[in-house]
């Protein structure tokens, strides 16, 4: 293992607020760790718990979900649905043996590039502190690509 | 009383109609008639008042002006005792109510609680007697006991301010008006319900007290009130005791009896004016009451 563990984090970002907020971090030339891989979804309410579970199954060290602030959803109420799902999913992850601290929900608006930077930085640090994890149903995925291929 | 409050087996014995009662210093001395009439009314209405064991000064009117800690710690001690007893704490004095309720409000803040030390985490609700009776208005049989009596309900400052501890609207409170209407009296709409009576200045600046109280009484007289009803011993002292010295350069003489709301409630419940100590006031209310056939 490397001197410092580099976690792999999947980020699901809503198109209208948080993805734009991440763009804003870029256009403002802010800087955050490279660990996050951003997947764009139209609305945070589009995020099926299955996607999160899948990411953890594949071996993700952390999953970040970001959407519009409550009340600001482009689709009026998608983020409220997400918030409920999040509240249910988190204890379920715990049950699966995945540290709840590896899963975070944040509200980032399109103008909050700085906030996005802070969120990613602190979350990456948090996951780094927790350390690597063992993928569900087998050894850590990174060390065993064959298994992933077989999937 | 003390033993009752301390006996744990008694804690749940009283039910919803049992309250810890905090009389305060004024009701034990200059405002005895308020204490007596309040107890008579409550007994008649099935409200059990258990005098708080070993109660001490609430801190009015100087503690909060001199020490932040004492302002919470003094009433805090009584709150603590009330919490031990386990019943909501009721007081008839507006000043005691204000100090106790503010202390309860502020100790919700952990930092203040640490400062004040002695206050327990679970604080029983603090209520003014008006609130207790108001919450039982439905069970109070409406009667025509005081029919024809025009009452100017005076709330003063401490029952309705500050907002966090107020029992009613600060500008146009209605809780006492509702009670008066229920017992057949006619509460007069007037503009001085919550004006300053001069509060704690009667010794230092009696001139200010007289000027302010005079305005209140003139306004009550102008709307044709037969008497002013109060729920605070300080208001009563200023409006009643100082009336003789009013007038002169402040305008016309004014004679308006000032009584406690519990005394009017007591009359409607059938107690005699003498049981209610209506003869203890400086401005005799008995002529006004007897002219309406009430005494």
């Amino acid at each position: 293992m490397a001197v410092e563990f580099e976690p792999k984090i999947v980020g699901f970002l809503c198109n209208w607020c948080s993805y734009a907020g991440a763009d804003m971090a870029g256009t403002s030339r802010m800087s955050y760790p490279t660990n996050i891989r951003i997947i764009r979804v139209p609305c945070s309410g589009r995020i099926d718990p299955l996607f999160v579970a899948k990411a953890f199954q594949m071996g993700a060290d952390g999953v970040l979900i970001a959407g519009c602030h409550p009340g600001d959803c482009h689709y009026a109420e998608g983020n409220y649905h997400l918030r409920r799902r999040f509240a249910l999913l988190r204890p379920f992850l715990d049950y699966l043996g995945i540290d709840k601290e590896r899963f975070r929900l944040e509200w980032v608006s399109a103008s909050e590039g700085k906030r996005f930077t802070e969120v990613v930085t602190s979350f990456t640090e948090q996951v780094r502190r927790i350390g690597p994890r063992v993928a569900l149903g087998g050894p850590r995925a990174e060390t065993s690509p064959a298994e992933v291929e077989a999937h | 009383m003390k033993q009752e409050a301390r006996a744990p087996s008694e804690k749940r014995g009283g039910g919803q109609n049992t309250f810890s009662y905090y009389p305060g210093c004024a009701l034990k001395s200059s405002a005895r008639e308020y204490d007596i009439s309040a107890r008579l009314c409550c007994e008649s209405l099935g409200i059990e008042l258990r005098e708080l064991a070993d109660w001490t000064c609430c801190g009015a009117s100087s503690a909060h002006a001199t020490s932040d800690v004492l302002a919470v710690a003094l009433p805090g001690k009584d709150l603590h005792a009330a919490s031990e007893a386990g019943y909501p704490l009721v007081t008839a004095c507006a000043m005691c109510f204000s100090r106790l309720k503010i202390a309860a409000h502020e100790t919700a803040d952990m930092a203040t609680r640490t400062l004040a030390g002695d206050v327990s985490g679970n604080i029983v609700p603090v209520m003014h007697l008006l609130e207790v009776i108001d919450s039982r208005l439905a069970s109070l049989v409406p009667n025509k006991g005081l029919a024809g009596l025009k009452v100017a309900c005076f709330y003063g400052c401490l029952l309705v301010r500050p907002k966090a501890v107020a029992i009613d609207d600060a500008e146009n409170p209605q809780v006492m008006d509702r009670l008066m209407r229920t017992i057949g009296a006619e509460p007069m709409p007037w503009a001085f319900k919550t004006e300053c009576c001069g509060a704690g200045l009667p010794l230092a600046r009696p001139d200010i007290v007289r000027r302010l109280s005079h305005r209140i009484l003139l306004s009550a007289a102008a709307v044709g009130a037969d008497c002013v009803a109060v729920a605070c011993p300080e208001c009563h002292a200023n409006l009643d005791m100082h009336q003789a010295g009013m007038g002169g350069k402040h305008g016309g003489e004014v004679r308006v009896p000032v009584v406690y709301f519990t005394q009017l409630l007591g009359l409607s419940l059938g107690f005699s004016p003498y049981e209610l100590h209506l003869d203890r006031h400086m401005v005799d209310p008995l002529p006004a009451l007897s002219s309406k056939g009430l005494a």
Partner: protein, 661 residues
Amino acid sequence: MFVCHCGTNIAGVVDIARVVEAAKRMPQVVYVSDNKYTCSDPGQGSIKNAIGEHKLDRVVVSACSPRMHEKTFRKAVAQAGLNPYMLEIANIREHDSWVHAFDKEGATAKAIELVRLAVAKVSRDAQLHARQIGLTKRALVIGGGIAGIQAALDIANSGHEVVVVEREATIGGRMAQVDKTFPTLDCSACILSPKMVELSSHPRVTLLTYAEVVSVKGFLGNFEVEIRQKARKVDHASCTGCGTCWQKCPEKVKSDFDLGLGERTAIYIPFPQAVPPKPVIDLESCRYMKYLAFTASGAEGKKPPQCRICEKLCPTGSIDWEQKDKILTEKFGAIVVATGFKTFDHSAYGEYGAGAYPDVITGLQLERMMSASGPTGGEVRRPSDGAHPKTVVFVSCVGSRDEAKGRAYCSKVCCMYIAKHAIMLKEHDPEVQSFVFYIDIRAGGKGYEEFVRRAQEEYGAIYLRGRVSKIYQEGRKLKVLGEDSLIGRPVEIDADLVVLATGIEPSTGVVDLAQRLSISYDTDRFLVEAHPKLRPVETQTDGVFLAGVCIGPKDIPETVAQGSAAAAKVAALFSQEYITTDPMTATVDLMKCTGCMLCAQVCPFKAIGSQTMRDGKVLANVNESLCKGCGLCAAACRGKAIDLRGFTNQQLLAEVTSLWQ
């Protein structure tokens, strides 16, 4: 696969050559090239050429954010003959090179993974086709105030039919109640009445007064609206508006239009210039209606008189007691909401008498008194004794800028109408002295600040910065206690009349209407625009537009401008022959759907309905015209029977999986 350098924006951090090499080894990738600027003409040309040359059926562009150039590249691939939705963008600029400038190694590794992610998605892209639907070129305007009048006239003048629905018996709204307008002191009626008449006589305008919107179905271009025409008990087709009935009707009630200061009869027109100039019968106060109600209830006692005087006197026999509420169903392509406002009820202010003092009135009431056609014939009189007031106190911000009363916002027009009133009072009666208590004077607008200064300097209004703490009756006078905070002294004024500048709040019933239209409202019940800066008269519901004070407090010029703006939006919409819909909508797999309809419950746009299959099963059905593609339903569906085109479950799962390949 096209990797963009974006000059040095990307190439300065990310090792493009390594990304290209890695991409070449990715499954299904047959062609990789890099460009200096892919978005440039040559860059786009190279994409088009490659599509033809290498028979590409899907394209990934690794460049800037898709929010930047997705549309550009979609167009480019479409020009090369591909379906425009067979394109994905890997964001290696905003999400990579720009934020990882100090970690070139990490940025390059991340770029490769982002490319792989996009490849995973693009290989599961399906051909999507935008649909075209027809539209009804007919607009509904809800509210007949100045905003609605302006919107309706502009739409009608651009050649389209308009229906105006107004709840009251006349159009004109609040502006009709106003005597003069600031800062020019134009007579309000003189500038409004011609517009009202123009609207009522316009060949393309249908006016439905005394009517309300009951329900709204459908979507952009194809709304179906139910409108209740309330029973007027007067046949407007034959009524000539001669006025005999309302002159002779014996039943008098307080006039809403005159804000309780004057009286009207049970059969009435709200004011002399009302449009239409034909009466309605107020069912609650009409004597015959009371008689009928009494008879029907079977109660004992003396019967009310039968009256029916209007019926006896009507020369055209237009009184129709049998007339009932009627529901009209109409089709529209667009809806403009212009529901306006009402004034704050000052009974919440106990310190100002809670509405108990007759000589404490509102600004709008003073406006009615000043109006020559108002209840006092244009004379300002104290409601208590009819005397002409000499000392008048104005209190600003009553129900505005007062969080304790739940009204944190500024009502915007009060400062100006106070100044107007102070000027007009002095013009009515030179002996009047006005005092104005204010918090701040907000006079932003052309000629506004100058107007306020005129009130002070030429008309002698005394402005006192501070709030009024109490008003009470003392004899015939009103004692006003306040503070002049600039000199830090309490002020007492013995006033004859106190005018409260009551704030603006949305009209009654606006929340119900907003829910019927699926548009949002804020905590103060003002309707919410699609974007406060750039889409000020649009809503989140396509085809529904807003105008005027229903969005937030504003003055007449701004309201008129918004009416025209909403009309322009409608006209632009109606300039199309059909509407193109976004194909990234939800779709139901009928083989999997169990008809639980959970999707319909979560859908914020009511886009999911049900359909009955031949075997009697009731399954979900997406109305693609209403669907906005949020995907809430797809995430909610238990059986994964509903999916979102462009962001399918399969695609998103593949994206996740790709990160470990």
